[in-house]
């Protein structure tokens, strides 16, 4: 995260230097481009931040629980249990009528926090497994991940704006003159860096997101004292794998597993993994089983054998 902020400031400063003559005697006193891009990104993201959790929930078609239905009552009970285990107030609970098994958490503080699961998840998982999933989601809330990822997307948006200016400005004749007076050895690497900055920013953002997923898995294990529940849930979801169509790139990091991934072809070490919002599911399962003191499940697939 710190790396992220430094990177953002560096890109901003580079553009200020190249196009506005900042940091020289002739230039303006403040790094104009950096501040402007930051301000713009903050305003757009703050609107998403305050109305955000409700906006996301309604865009996903989330509905309130109906406590007459036994399954919903069970879900309510499980969330109560996990709220107790984590020592946090009860979040709001929603369900999405969708067969794809998945879950998400939103809300930037404990008051507007919400946990949301699909009906597909409720039918697929048993009580213990659902408990693991809910614990993972509550961990996201407790670890302030939603807030963190909001910050990350502010910076991501800011860098996108800066890079856009940086590239556009380069072709104009006015800035061509400005560039003339500067050291060529400094200009070329900076221009390349600016051109690549949106990609680098996205890589950084996704790295942050993946780390938070591992952390949420670990915190979930701490709350339930039962890592195998979540591990089995992930296995079942992996085997049932289907994309969740209502999710978008902007909301993908909120989910339990990457809702945009189509297949089950998640393997370690592929370049695509660097751009993934979630760590490879196999690795998460493996780590959870290790926490439970078990080696890898013997049979890859639906049936998991418990080996002590």
């Amino acid at each position: 995260m710190g790396v992220f902020i430094v990177f953002f400031l560096f890109i901003g400063a580079a553009i200020d230097f190249l196009h506005f003559d900042a940091f020289t005697r002739a230039g303006p006193a403040l790094p104009v481009a950096t501040l402007f891009a930051l301000g713009f990104a903050v305003v757009t993201t703050l609107t998403a931040y305050y109305g955000g959790s409700d906006m996301i929930l309604s865009s996903l078609g989330a509905e309130k629980l109906n406590l007459q239905i036994p399954e919903h009552r069970e879900l309510h009970n499980i969330v109560t249990e996990m709220a107790l285990a984590s020592g946090s107030p009860m979040p709001r609970i929603f369900v999405i009528f969708d067969p794809a098994p998945n879950a998400l958490a939103t809300g930037t503080n404990e008051k507007n926090a919400a946990v949301c699961v699909t009906t597909g998840l409720l039918t697929l998982l048993d009580r213990e497994e659902t408990q693991g999933v809910i614990a993972h989601e509550i961990s996201h809330i407790r670890n302030d991940d939603v807030l963190l990822m909001t910050l990350v997307s502010i910076l991501l948006g800011g860098i996108a704006i800066l890079a856009d200016w940086g590239q556009r400005g380069f072709y104009g004749s006015r800035s061509g003159r400005r560039l003339a007076g500067k050291n060529i050895l400094l200009i070329i690497p900076l221009l390349i860096l600016i051109a690549l900055s949106p990609l680098i920013a996205r890589l950084l953002a996704m790295a942050v997101s993946r780390q938070r997923e591992y952390l949420a898995d670990a915190t979930a294990a701490q709350y339930t004292r039962n890592p195998s529940g979540l591990a089995r849930a992930l296995e079942k979801i992996r085997d049932a794998a289907m994309p969740f169509h209502k999710a978008t790139r902007g909301t993908a990091h909120l989910f339990l597993i990457n809702p945009l991934r189509r297949g089950v072809d998640e393997r370690d070490g592929k370049i695509a993994d660097w751009l993934a919002s979630h760590p490879p599911i196999e690795r998460r399962i493996l780590l959870l089983y290790r926490m439970a003191g078990m080696s890898q499940p013997l049979v890859q697939g639906s049936k998991v054998q418990m080996v002590q």
Binding site: E74, N77, T80, E81, L84, A85, G87, Y223, R225
Partner: protein, 185 residues
Amino acid sequence: MIFVIWAIIFVLGIWVISTYNGLTALRLRIQNAWRQIDVQLKRRYDLIPNLVETVKGYMQYEQDTLQKVIDARSQAMAAKGVKESAEAQTALTQSLGKVFALMENYPELKASKNVSDLQEELTTTENQIAFARQYYNDLVTQYNTKQQVFPSNMLAGLFGFKPSEFFEVAEAEKALPRVNLSLTR
């Protein structure tokens, strides 16, 4: 020189205030966590007579077990203090577990919607008690650790913070079932 002394006093002052506040906040959270356990326990007391009434008709031959649950309940309700109530609760949990296990033998009991609703209610109450207790114990660990490690132990002694009691699980519940897999000759 004077400036350095003031700076040291300032930093010390901040440290004292933040340690004191941290300990106090933990103590309040422990009290709150204890109340949470209490709420769950009360709910269990309310649910047990319901359960016994519902299953009594089906489980003709288990009157002893049911009576034990009722007795354990009244004992737990009478218990005072963290340690005593922890013990009574353990006895109650065990006798309830026996009833759940016996219920498996009565298919018509499991088929009843009333009973399955009640069972889910009791399951979640049991879980909620366990998780509330887990959270309570985690907080107590934090609180007690903070009172014993250097340097915050100096302040804890000075301001009279006392270690809290764990909500302990009796030995019987902790003991793992031992399975002997060695071949007999």
